[in-house]
Symmetry: C2
Subunit: 227 residues, 2 copies
Amino acid sequence: MNKTVSHCLIAHIENDFSGKFGIPRQSGLIDDLTSLIVFEKEYRVKEALRGIEGFSHLWLLWQFSENKDQGWHPTVRPPRLGGNRRVGVFATRSPFRPNAIGLSSVKLIGVENTPDRGTVLLVRGADLMNGTPILDIKPYLPFTDAHPDAVGGFAEAVLGDRLSVEIPPAWEQKIPPEKRKALRKMLTNDPRPSYQEDATRIYKMSFSTYTVSFRVENGILTVTEIQ
Amino acid sequence: MNKTVSHCLIAHIENDFSGKFGIPRQSGLIDDLTSLIVFEKEYRVKEALRGIEGFSHLWLLWQFSENKDQGWHPTVRPPRLGGNRRVGVFATRSPFRPNAIGLSSVKLIGVENTPDRGTVLLVRGADLMNGTPILDIKPYLPFTDAHPDAVGGFAEAVLGDRLSVEIPPAWEQKIPPEKRKALRKMLTNDPRPSYQEDATRIYKMSFSTYTVSFRVENGILTVTEIQ
């Protein structure tokens, strides 16, 4: 059998995303979503963050918590490819990999001291569900991490797929004004599981404490209810 | 106590770097170093790499193997700051962190089938020692991973520190021609532990099967012996 190593969960994410459905597929695509990184008690040491405010971006290494015992398969079907083309798992960011470790770059918005939870980090652009456990936080170093000319394979080719979003005002008013832009961006990004294309189907997505229902036809996403 | 998760070692690095001393401090800074990623038997599945050749860059998540039981401290002294300024561990890429997971972007040079070790990846720019265990391989996605305008904190401010390198021809001839450029770049990058500044001291660095001795004075690194 293969060797294994043990890693601890040092922190977790707190944000408005309570369900997996609707989580942006890649970090950074949706900039308006603010998340809090709250350290677990043992790692709640203010000194460990000294100097971090000098960085505009951070890397989060995190544990996919939703797919614990599903194992891995050599190939996966990325939603971005319509769900019917198989590619190797190491050519994707799929959660179903030998080690379910996620990697996301986020913008560092603030470092805040709280009375009850120690020093927390405020970040934007995280594609992580509420409660996602964090394994590591590293500074983003542009001189080694930024390769703007990198070629992105199939993932890049299909990035243009975006939906027009229509939210009737009666429903939109249910959402606090400061969260409306984030909701629109999430919907634009097509939160459907991409395996089916059915204009009559009503999809539901969790957002903050709300359930957003919508349908999609001819590239237009129409919100049908917000509860 | 805190929760832990278990991760498997899926592959390892094979290259010319046999000693920790002299390893480039950040991945990608030294482009000429070629490494092989060899999968462990259980993960030696060609299909798992299908489509990976469409990406120019990859992320490697790896395990710092040299500092297993040293634990972590909230602050570290980065060599780049001369080793006498303490910053928070999460503001650095130091190996001495709660989870000793490293993150490096590399250029994908080739995907090769071998008779004895299955499909291997040929990469460039890895800052990893020979034998370093790999936890995960992910495609580099420029639209989410590249932030060329990111601010890099103190790490950026001191990146200009470079040495002039003088290698007497008699010693340089001991190194195969195709490896000389890589050696020079490693030396330019100042492989000394930065805690001391002693012009009379002879440093030794492992490179491939060689031991390179050198001293440094007034920003000039002079090779004194190659064995």
